[in-house]
Assembly symmetry: C2
Homo-oligomer: 523 residues x 2
């Protein structure tokens, strides 16, 4: 498998009066024999003497693909082929994750993450954009913060592994949404969120690392995006899941501040984005918080009591996305809320009235309010409707859905069962409901190791058809129907209906066989 970098060991003949080819030509000719047409960077030209002689013409060249040709970006004495490294970066708006990849063994040697230093200019993207909009100096600050975060990762990797990016790193692949790429390259990102939503550059391609301040020998490739809301992180997810290659129809859902959805197979790719919303990340509920120490991330109602799992095993301070999904599912299955999500105060003494509103005390001193539920259900309805609408648009029944990939932290931490119970995910074979993990990072790593994926990216971008959700007449109507738990049309959620029946009657219904015996505490 050929990646976007190469290291090749050459044993060359020393020059003689009969064969007085230049050092440069000697190297290029040798590569040409191996079928590699390359050019030599100025840095390497300067390094040839006295290196070639001292190394007795036993050399290792490092090559980086620049989008058009192989560039020789370094030359070293002796055989260093086994020290061949690259970097994959998931440039998230909150967290930046970097992997050191051994391009010989194709293994990830180290993964580190840091908060994105852009946060200094606003915790949410829009604040950052308003900070840099039409303000060149601010844009430079944000660019610098972005690069510093990546460099911080590289430094941490060097501390952990002894492998220095500037001494041994050839290429880097960065995957990030359109705003992040605009920030990285010092572009005004206001365009991402303002009509007509035409961004400045979505395919920067291969840039010299040193041009943007990233200390590697070769190039930084930013995975291109499709549109303002469908950035390189989603295209990278396509590379990770390979769903554009199969016959089976898959859906790829990245739920974060925004929700981005792609459905399709090797024949077609429909994509869209919408405000799945911060609600799902615990952003708008009264006691919502990020999934960090002190957050309730798992909830189970047993014998009339709420049992919560707290991240870090300490005192609970609030509840994060996966905790909320669990909580709602449990409240519903136990009848504490009805199909419309309304509290049934007679079902538990934990349901109280505070500040003129019903709420449940899910943990001592922590309350989940009726308006928290209402808000959350709107968001989950929006997310579900995106999927539903997209299927309708493609003329395909949701029953034909092969795999449903859920990307990101949400996909990794949220319980499948709970998410189906509340109608956030479609009711389907659990085996085919797959957490895609950090697919943005996975795709970046894949590209680092597989150059031909550059063609796949062209193919994906070509094939993708963008669907504007806002533009459709009955999207709102569909969304209202989806605000029920799990849905106004219970037929769509047979296993939820079955579970309910069991819980209420103690008997199993036939469809229940699809339900797995997943333990939400272990997952």
């Amino acid at each position: 498998m050929e990646g976007i970098s190469k290291k090749i060991y050459l044993e060359l003949d020393a020059p003689t009066e009969e064969d007085s080819r230049s050092d440069q030509k000697r190297i290029l000719d040798s590569l040409e024999k191996d079928g590699i047409s390359a050019v030599m960077s100025l840095a390497v030209i300067k390094k040839l003497y006295p290196l070639c002689e001292l190394a007795d013409w036993k050399l290792t060249v490092s090559l980086g693909w620049d989008g058009s040709i192989w560039q020789i970006v370094d030359v070293e004495a002796g055989n260093t082929v086994c020290r061949h490294y690259g970097f994959a970066v998931d440039l998230g708006s909150t967290t930046v994750v970097t992997r050191l990849v051994d391009c010989e063994t194709e293994e990830c040697l180290c993964e580190v993450s840091q908060y994105n230093r852009q946060i200094a200019f606003g915790t949410d993207i829009l604040t950052r954009i308003f900070y840099e909009k039409d303000n060149e100096a601010a844009r430079k600050e944000i660019q610098a913060a972005t690069v510093e975060t990546i460099c911080g990762n590289l430094k941490e990797i060097e501390e952990k592994t002894g492998i220095s990016s500037c001494k041994e790193g050839i290429q880097m692949v960065i995957s990030g949404n359109t705003t992040m790429i605009h920030f990285l390259l010092e572009m005004d990102a206001f365009c991402v969120f303002s009509t007509p939503y035409a961004v400045h550059a979505d395919a920067p391609g291969f840039l010299r690392g040193t041009d943007i301040g990233i200390p590697i020998k070769g190039y930084v490739y930013c995975i291109p995006g499709k549109s303002n809301y469908l950035g390189g992180d989603i295209i990278s997810g396509m590379l990770a899941t390979q769903m554009y290659k199969g016959e089976e129809i898959s859906a790829f859902f990245d739920i974060g501040t925004n929700g981005e959805l792609v459905i399709g197979n090797r024949e077609f790719l429909l994509c869209g984005a919408g405000a799945a919303g911060p609600a799902l990340e615990g952003g708008v509920v009264h006691t919502g918080m990020r999934a960090c120490d002190g957050a309730v991330d798992r909830v189970k109602i047993e014998n009339g009591k709420c049992r919560c799992h707290v991240i870090g095993e300490g005192k609970a301070k609030g509840i994060c996305g996966s905790g909320i999904v669990d909580l709602l599912a449990e409240l519903f299955l136990n009848g504490w809320i009805n199909i419309k999500g309304k509290f049934q105060p007679d079902k538990s003494f934990l349901i109280q009235e505070k500040e003129g509103m019903l709420c449940v005390e899910y943990e001592k001193g922590l309350y989940f309010y009726q308006d928290d539920i209402d808000e959350f259900l709107k968001t989950k309805a929006a997310a579900y409707t995106m999927v539903e609408y997209m299927f309708r648009e493609s003329g395909i029944s949701m029953k034909e859905l092969g795999r449903f990939y859920v990307a990101g932290a949400f996909g990794k931490h949220v319980s499948k069962e709970s998410a189906i119970t509340i109608g956030l995910y479609p009711d389907m074979d659990r085996e085919h409901l797959v957490s895609a993990g950090n697919s943005s990072l996975e795709g970046a790593q894949k590209l680092l190791l597989q150059k031909e994926l550059l063609n796949d990216i062209e193919e994906i971008l070509e094939k993708m058809v963008y669907v504007q959700f806002g533009a459709v007449g009955d999207f709102l109507q569909m969304m209202v129907a989806a605000q029920a738990i799990p849905h106004t049309d219970m037929e769509r959620f047979p296993t939820v209906a079955s579970a309910l029946y069991t819980l209420r009657t103690g008997e199993n219904r036939v469809q229940c066989s699809r339900r797995t015996t997943e333990s939400r505490w272990i997952e």
Copy 2:
């Protein structure tokens, strides 16, 4: 004709919600429609906003060929296609000449020259090489001096024309010998003159101007060389004369400190280099000097007197190459020296003995000595023998020689008649003996305007066969025969024999018809 840069005016549709392609894609798509596959540099990506909007999507893009693909290196508002400039540089060891070329009209708008600031590190190349050999700091100084000289030229051009290289220059082509290119790129040039004569890099290709400190938007292309002594200046001469394209067999002779010779046609190219020597430039004779103010550059003997022309019309201080060639021819035609170049004291009272040696007082107080003549004849013999030997090597009679190009200042200033009379040039139809002028610069300009010449260069390098003069047994023997004036074998110089006959007898011989009535005072 397509050059290595382009300016293209685009009238693009403004983005709408229906067509929300990125600014970048909008530009690339439009170029693609014109059949141009291009990539966008980071500098341009950063410049897109707010430029595109302010310019109402009427833009001019500047493209520079990078050796593999068209790079968009600038974007400007409005139609600036008519302001499309490039630079051609002859990087000589003594003088650096730069031309500003209008790439639309293909005209040279301005030509300036300066002494190469490397001279601060040695007037001759070898001194400079010994200065920088294995001394990185010195190498950096020489590199800086080289770039400063080119930048000095660019500044002078800007002062004269108002056209700034960094604001409006796209590409630059530099033609120089192998040592000059090594100096420009901070490479140790000792390899050029030391066995096994394998240099470090002879084909640096397209380098970003800013990487080597040259303020242009795009790339600097250094014309590649064939070997240590046959540098880019000679390859550039090939482009200028196009002798590798015709059926006619031509010779190209660049006489400077070294002599470089190429003979051939579209079928073959033989090349070689040898110490034609500083003698020809007036370097080793007692009163020799460069062709500047105070140098005798033309000599005629009339009525027993030497009539000299002095550059700058002032008092003579010495004699330069063209003056020496004239002087020797006149001494010989008037019988003051014999066929072996020995003074005949009885022929003129101007022939005297000074410091135990015969000499001629060619100008009041200025003497040309017997050992000056002997030295010069050795050099002219070496030069002639290179041509003769090369023909013999190729199995072609010198009678088949179509054109004889003499490059550089020597070719421009030396009288053809005198050079033939002393046997420096072969005795041939004067119309076919052509001064190629500054063919190094001409070739660079041609390449700037004609991208397909890049293929020609590959073809030339492929076709060229290097002949080692030192390696042949009878080279020395041939050279001894060529030390006579014009040659031991007078049959080779029929028009000289005829001229001699006329002068001595007052009658014309038949061959004389070939002799032109050239005035050496006007040429």
